[in-house]
Amino acid sequence: MDASVLILLLLPVIGAIGAGVSRNRRVADGVAVLSVGIPLVVASSLAMRVASEPTTRVAITLPWLQSLKVPGLFGYLLDPLAILLLTVVELLGFLVVVYSTRYMGRGNREHPTDEGKPRHHFWMLLFIASMTGVAISPNLLQLYVFWEMTTVCSWALISHYRNEASLQAGFKAVLMTVFGGLFFAVALVILFVNTGSFDFAALDRLTPQLRSLVFLFLLVAAWAKSAQVPFYTWLPDAMEAPTTVSMYLHAAAMVKAGVFLIARLAIANYHLAFRSGLLVAIMAVVTMLVGVYMFFFQDDLKRLLAYSTITHLAYVLFGLGLGILGSQTGLLGGLLHIVNHAMGKAVLFLCVGAISYTTGLRSITELRGLSYRAPLVSIAFFIGMLTITGVPPFAGFWSKFFLLSGAINLGGTVGWFLLVPFFLEAIVAFAWFLRVGHHVFFGEVSPAASAAKDPPLAMSLALIVLSIMCLIAPVMGLPIINLIRF
């Protein structure tokens, strides 16, 4: 087990250095693919062995804290929730690296250069390693360390093209998420001073007032990280990043860290206050409505997807909020949505990447009739769209159903108060995505879209794998989630 975890953590780092320093682009590609491919295999084998009994091992303590009798600080925790995020991180990491071997090349009409490729691989692999660290963290402290590492990586990746807009976007992202991170740090200090522990479950040992305060601080951190109202504005701006980065940032890494933190807390603590749960759920609903409202003004496909991510992270938080309020089905739905949204959103981003790769454009008004030129991309896009909008039998439906079910199980005024806006949001989002899909892929081929075609093999492969995952994600996710003991 130790060896597996070491491979998961270190191989991407080694690969990052290898790919970063190599002068030859092909070598860089090879190293990068290999150093995420092996962890993917390892993570899959771990996923097979996962049981409801979590494996924890704390290896390293800090000498200056030993006097406080802290059992240990750094190590790993492999429980179903960790495995859930881990598989998503590794699978999407692998696919995004494979995809980027062609995307970050001269064939890309939007950015026809492969100059920054080693740099991209370097940061991307570090990003994957940090997310792995987040997923397997046994306590809040380690989570915080890796959490901030993802921030650094995302800053470098968002500013990848080094033009004015992307530098500004990267700066904005870092500023807002680090601001949230400060709340995380304060929460850690309060927690440690009062309980002498960084455990996820340590919140239960606080007095109710302090527990709510610490939870609120962690929630602010999660909101900033997961781009929720009122901190959501950095995410759409971060679309200046290469599409591969956007995809990974949205589907697997960074924003998922925020909801993962809340998921950890929701599962580990039994005594979170009702008002905390209500706050999570209400803010989630507000975020959903704000996000879906902003759909109407987006012309850039990627920005549209960014707002969609905001709403979908709100779905996850909505489920977690329902869980804290007492609905286990809702909690299940929220967790499942982490996986389902990851698959759906990943395929959508890669489709947009493929479109801009061949046409150099991302504008909804300019692109028309793509389905005649790029059938694979259009099918994949529709699959992704139906996934995130929750049309059966695709993945998103299952989690949406669980969320609905959770809200109804909760019952009473609160349940219905939360349910109605959620339901409306789901309908409006579906309508808008369907409209965009019709606009971009059907109708007469527009001049701008006439150059479109299906992307090269490496990119198509990622699309195909993800499209299949959009169907079978719940089949793989549900058994893992059902192992979680509440």
């Binding site: 901190f231 409202y293 109407f296 389905s371 049309v391 059966p392 079910s405 549900l478």
Partner: protein, 685 residues
């Protein structure tokens, strides 16, 4: 082979067929044969399964799969009612695919990959068949939504044309909302009883009726809305006149033959099987019947105004589904008090459904044949096609007479039963009498509308917009489905008791505890005659065979008179009182039919316009300006983050002004700092 094995293999064949045709479609356009290769065993086995259930009774599987976290179980059960629908689906879908084999060759579709047609079609067939086998609401809805998805793909098959895209969008969106509502309804009941199976839902509902009446109403309204939307009941079926014409004709035939019928199936399942007989039945029975009659009236009246053949038929889909709903509504209403009448009404509604599935599919195929030959759906541009395509004309006349309810064709038998039920129901609840009268009146309107459809396309002077049409009728593979369907129309018209027995017993089979009379007590008579009773004496009889014989006899008589008189047939040009007239002037196009009637009903108030009695208005397009108050409010950047950051930055700039490079200024700062610290320490102690 057991019925379930057949059913399973049928679904497998269709599913694999969909995948194979899809991938084959990447290479070739000749997919019809391939699709047929899978459709023949698929539909054949499904039909076999249905027949086996009819003969041997209900079959069901053990739970195949349970969704962890919620109590949904994948259970397959084929009872006679499912088998009835399964049989309809397999026949109609097979005939439609057979028809497509040549139909899809028309130049109109030349630039489209047929993989986008055959693969969804096979999926659609598979999904509709799956729907009728599910007895767990959760999986029922999954199959249901899958059916919507595949039918949406068929609607937008011709995806270069804007109006079709718009129709597809509207269709999918409305369906999504409807299904979402139904999910909500099911979930609400589930949250009380923790079961999604039909039986479990019934038990839960029974328990909830006393304690949570509002919740029961909410759930039932959701179900009603969902199924009524699918069935195309007005005003929820507004999508239908757009979506059906957008789909290729065989697909539209399959939609009208199977999909819209499944809406009625869902209503029967929910309001007959799941809802225990109670006051709720009475309320919702009345609601169903009222909406049904509304559809009959508005749908058919609007159909009469149409000049596009497929749009005309689409409005008739709406009108005809109203008849079924009238029957179902009557049945549900009388379930608690008059179970005999109720079951007859339900059986009548479902019998009409069967008849409608046959003749409506046939009519859509006829419209397709016209399109195949003439290249247009506009009834104004065609005429006299009976000379070119006699087989299509003959089948179209049979189907038209059936839908108009002319004896001895099948449409009449079911309509007659419906009228009987509404009259006898009217004796107990007068409103049904009124509904029945509307239904009878509209039957005449249906006839008028089909006179137009038929007369405009097949009679009169020969004209088509295409320069020339190939000689002869449509190819044999297109004739066969039309012939089979019109044959069925005649057969079921002459032998109405066969399907009625099947339907009645299958309805009894679902709710055996109702305590109603057996089939033989209510429907006496031989194969070709019905003697109807509602439990106390025969109240009406209908004997199609005698009517048919009489009609035949009169025809023979007329023919005999003609022969004996030695009259010869003359073909001469029309005589216009000696004045020369061009063809254009003397042509009587579809547009000319029922002009005064149209003028009378044309209503316009402000921007709302009635197409006849059908409210048709453009959905308002909302244009949101990006720079409104709400956008400004949610752009937290603009009013909070940017000002704060800018202010902070300015503060730092101002503060950096303290860096002046003069030592004694720094010294002053140090002293001020020390003093402040001392003050702080003292104030704290």
């Amino acid at each position: 082979m057991g019925a379930l094995t057949c059913y399973g293999w049928a679904l497998a064949f269709l599913l694999v067929g969909a995948l194979v045709t899809f991938f084959a479609g990447l290479r070739t356009r000749r997919l019809g044969g391939l699709a047929l290769m899978f459709a023949i065993p698929g539909c054949g086995l499904a039909l076999l399964a249905a027949v086996s259930v009819f003969l041997r009774g209900t079959v069901s599987t053990d739970p195949l799969f349970t969704v962890p976290g919620i109590g949904a179980v994948l259970l397959v059960r084929l009872d006679p009612l499912s088998a009835f629908f399964l049989a309809i689906i397999s026949v109609v879908c097979f005939l439609a695919i057979l028809y497509s084999y040549r139909y899809m060759d028309i130049p109109w579709f030349a630039d489209l990959s047929l993989a986008g047609y055959y693969a969804p079609f096979l999926l659609f067939t598979c999904a509709t068949m799956t729907v009728v086998g599910m007895v767990d609401m959760f999986f029922f809805f999954i199959a249901w939504e899958f059916m919507t998805l595949s039918s949406y793909a068929l609607v937008i098959f011709d995806r270069k044309r804007k109006e079709r895209l718009r129709a597809g969008f509207k269709y999918f969106l409305i369906m999504h909302i409807a299904t979402g509502l139904m999910f909500l309804g099911a979930l609400v009941i589930y949250s009380f009883g923790k079961s999604f199976t039909f039986d479990g839902l019934r038990v839960t509902l029974q328990a909830m009726m006393e304690t949570h009446p509002a919740t029961v109403h909410f759930a039932l309204i959701c179900f009603f809305l969902g199924f009524a939307t699918k069935a195309g009941v007005l005003p929820f079926g507004d999508w239908l006149p757009d979506a059906y014409p957008a789909a290729p004709s065989p697909a539209a035939a399959a939609f009208s033959g199977t999909m819209s019928k499944l809406g009625v199936y869902g209503l029967v399942r929910v309001f007959y099987e799941i809802l225990p007989a109670s006051n709720y039945s009475r309320t919702y029975g009345l609601v169903i019947a009222l909406f049904g009659t509304l559809s009959i009236f508005v749908g058919t009246m609007t159909a009469m105004m149409q000049e596009d053949s497929k749009r005309l038929l689409s409005f008739h889909v709406i009108g005809q589904v109203g008849y079924m709903l009238l029957g179902v509504g009557l049945g549900v209403y009388f379930l608690p008090k008059e179970p005999n009448l109720a079951l007859v009404a339900l059986a009548a509604g479902l019998f009409h459904l069967l008849n409608n599935a046959i003749y409506k599919s046939s009519l859509f195929l006829n419209a397709g044949s016209i399109f195949y030959k003439a290249g247009t759906r506009n009834l104004n541009e065609i005429g006299g096609l009976s000379r070119l395509m006699p087989v299509t004309a003959a089948t179209a006349v049979v189907a038209s007479l059936s839908i108009a309810g002319i004896p001895p064709f099948n449409g009449f038998s079911s309509k007659w039963l419906l009228y009987e039920c509404s009259v006898f129901g009217g004796a107990r609840m007068p409103i049904f009498m009124g509904l029945g009268i509307i239904a009878i009146f509209i039957s005449a309107v249906t006839l008028a509308s089909f006179l137009k459809f038929f007369g405009a396309s097949f009679f009169g002077k020969f004209r088509i917009p295409q320069a020339q049409a190939a000689k002869g009728d449509v190819p044999a593979s297109m004739q066969v489905p039309q012939l089979v369907l019109s044959g069925l129309c005649v057969f079921l018209g002459l032998a109405p008791l066969l399907p009625l027995r099947l339907l009645y017993t299958s309805l009894l089979d679902i709710r055996p505890q109702l305590g109603v009379a057996g089939f033989a007590e209510l429907f006496s008579g031989s194969v070709s005659s019905i003697r109807l009773s509602f439990g106390d004496g025969v109240v009406a009889t209908w004997n199609p065979a005698w009517i048919a014989l009489a009609l035949l006899g009169f025809c023979l008589l007329a023919w005999g008179i003609m022969r004996s008189g030695g009259a010869s047939r003359r073909t001469v040009p029309s005589w216009y009182c000696g004045e020369p007239h061009s063809d254009h002037e003397t042509h009587f196009p579809a547009h000319g039919f029922y002009q005064p009637f149209k003028q009378f009903f044309r209503v316009r108030i402000g921007k709302y316009e009635w197409e006849g009695v059908y409210l048709s208005f453009k959905y308002p397009s909302i244009r949101l300006r990006e720079d409104n108050w709400l956008t400004r409010l949610v752009s937290v950047d603009r009013w909070f983050f940017y000002p704060v950051v800018r202010g902070f930055y300015r503060l730092l700039v101002w503060f950096s002004g303290s860096h002046v490079g003069i030592p004694h200024v720094y010294l002053t700062w140090a002293i001020v700092g020390v003093l402040a610290a001392i003050a702080l320490v003292f104030s704290l102690h």
